[in-house]
Amino acid sequence: MIDLFRSYQPVFDFFLFSLGLAYSQQAALRAGVFSVATAGFSALGAYACAILVKTYGAPPFLAILIGALVGGAAGWILSAPLARLRGVYQAIATLAFGEVIISLALYAEPVTGGAVGINSIPKSISTWHLLIVIAAVMYVMHAIGRSGVGRSFDALRQDETVAACLGVSITRYHALAFVISGVIGGLFGAMQSLYAYNIEPGQFGFSLMVSVLTAIVLGGRSSLIGPVFGAAILTILPELARPLAEYRPLVNGVILIGVIVFLPQGVGDAMIAYFRRRRDAARRGVSVEKRSVVASA
């Protein structure tokens, strides 16, 4: 059993990293902020952490903490101008943010190493660290979800005008969502840099943005369990079907279209909704089939 786990450990670590970034993306989407800045946040966190450890010899724990803080600060700064934008415009602006970060990383060669990136970073992150951090992030997300903040986020996502009329401050909660997204993104970016020995600008580009978005669309945008499903399916699917590994983008593409067309809430959210319906139906003594017929009529 242990041996089996050993051989799949890199896959499992990959899953944990995708899961962490997926939570960063979810934090924004949940509040109705159409941000795709997660890749940029994680790039900032990764570079901050790597530079601190390599150039200044900072202890890994402190470096990761500062990486997360840098991500959060970027989210906070970004939230002020982005409060003016909505929807597609927000997506484009956060995309531009990511591109600026990458092109700066390419340009500032003395600090960031340019296109080569930063190499031979001492490895100090193992699966256990990742697991602990993921557990902490999940707990925080769960706590936020159960609190008034989570309800405000949900209200903002569903209808901004109604939420504002009910006394939810749009600016403040959007800023909070950006900060949470930034902290989580920076945190996992920083851990990535202490896990993988090297970082380069290319790994934080458009493709990272797409894969993070895929995980969250596939899993679900509002439930805690959603990103787990999304990241797990995206990690396991290419492993299950080795011949498919070569066609990974193609499989991801088909999944994206299929899910957004047939299961727009995502696998996790749809399952939760299904079980909730069943439970309610059982309480009222109506069979699920009958209810679903009524619902579709």
């Binding site: 989407l29 159409f34 101008p81 003016r84 934008l85 929807g87 597609v88 415009y89 997506a91 484009i92 602006a93 995309l95 531009a96 943010f97 591109e99 600026v100 092109s103 700066l104 390419l106 340009y107 569903q158 458009f206 797409v210 978005l213 895929t214 669309v217 070569e246 066609y247 990974r248 983008p249 193609l250 991801n252 593409g253 088909v254 999944i255 994206l256 279209i257 957004i260 067309v261 727009p264």
Partner: protein, 298 residues
């Protein structure tokens, strides 16, 4: 020297414009970002390349590429966008972006498989290499072709949208699909047309860009996609002449930054400008909140 730089910038701007026209047309009509546009563009270049390689004359390959990429765009609409429109749910923008990213991934993956991840280039002499000189400037036949194609496409598109019945229908659907349906406009046909036109233009752009840089590869759409965001935001989302002006501006700006600033800063400046314009003039630099595809009937 500056004049030559500006001319080069103008031409690379024209190249961006060829790409951005279809992108902004789809946004103007349907209010969604079609992120698969880069994939269609790449498909156009690939089709022309393989047509030339199997021995067809270049113009046949070009024609094939234009028609095929138009059809691919229509197919994208059928597979990815129509089910979303039919559902008409609240998060339409998000859903459309996700679905079109999915299509883009499929196209890129197929092209990668087809080309074995290699960079392809048209055989030498596919397009006559000729240079003209005037006022101390140098311009190639291909560059003149690009400028002329852009001018013809822009004028043709504006004529089509403003002066024909089909164009009026497209504009009506852009304003309100429901109201135009009540007035007897077949919105399915309108979407078919807009996607075909946008796809065909992406195909034209793909072939011309593949020719002028002499490189065709499966990721060629991505940088143009990112530039197209800048262009359509500067020009105003859905504004066709605005997109062309913004492209030309962007091309010249880029040529200037590359020539006179430290290397590597060009992208930073361009995307920083995008960010700033989005914040202060979200409707673009050219005019107010009107979307030219959706201007009222005359």
């Amino acid at each position: 020297m500056i004049a030559q730089q500006l001319l080069n910038g103008l031409i690379s701007g024209a190249v961006y414009a060829l790409f951005a026209l279809g992108f902004t047309l789809i946004f103007g009509v349907q209010k969604v970002l079609n992120l698969a546009h880069g994939g269609v563009f790449m498909a156009g270049a690939f089709i022309a390349y393989y047509a030339v390689v199997i021995g067809l004359p270049f113009w046949v390959g070009f024609l094939l590429a234009v028609i095929a990429s138009g059809l691919i765009a229509v197919l994208i609409d059928l597979i990815a966008f129509r089910p979303l429109r039919a559902r008409g749910h609240a998060n339409a923008e998000f859903a459309a972006i996700v679905a079109s990213i999915g299509v883009d991934l499929i196209l890129i993956s197929l092209a990668q498989k087809l080309s074995n991840t290699k960079v392809l280039s048209f055989p030498f002499g596919t397009f006559p290499v000729e240079f003209f000189r005037f006022w101390g400037l140098r311009i190639s036949l291909l560059q003149i072709t690009i400028l002329a194609t852009l001018a013809i496409l822009l004028l043709g598109l504006i004529y089509y949208l403003q002066r024909t019945t089909f164009g009026r229908q497209i504009r009506a659907v852009a304003i309100s699909e429901r109201a135009s349906a009540l007035l007897g406009v077949n919105s399915t046909a309108v979407y078919f047309q807009t996607f075909f036109i946008a796809g065909a233009m992406a195909g034209i752009a793909g072939v011309l860009i593949g020719l002028s840089f002499n490189s065709i590869h499966f990721l060629m759409g991505e940088p143009y996609m990112l530039r197209a965001f800048v262009v359509v935001v500067l020009g105003g989302l859905g504004n066709l002449p605005g997109a062309v002006f913004a492209s030309l501006l962007l091309g010249m700006l880029q040529a200037m930054t590359v020539a006179y600033l430290p290397p590597g800063l060009s992208d930073t400046i361009i995307f920083a400008i995008l960010f700033i314009v989005l914040l202060f003039w979200p409707n673009g630099l050219f005019g107010g909140s009107r979307i030219s595809v959706g201007v009222g009937r005359q």
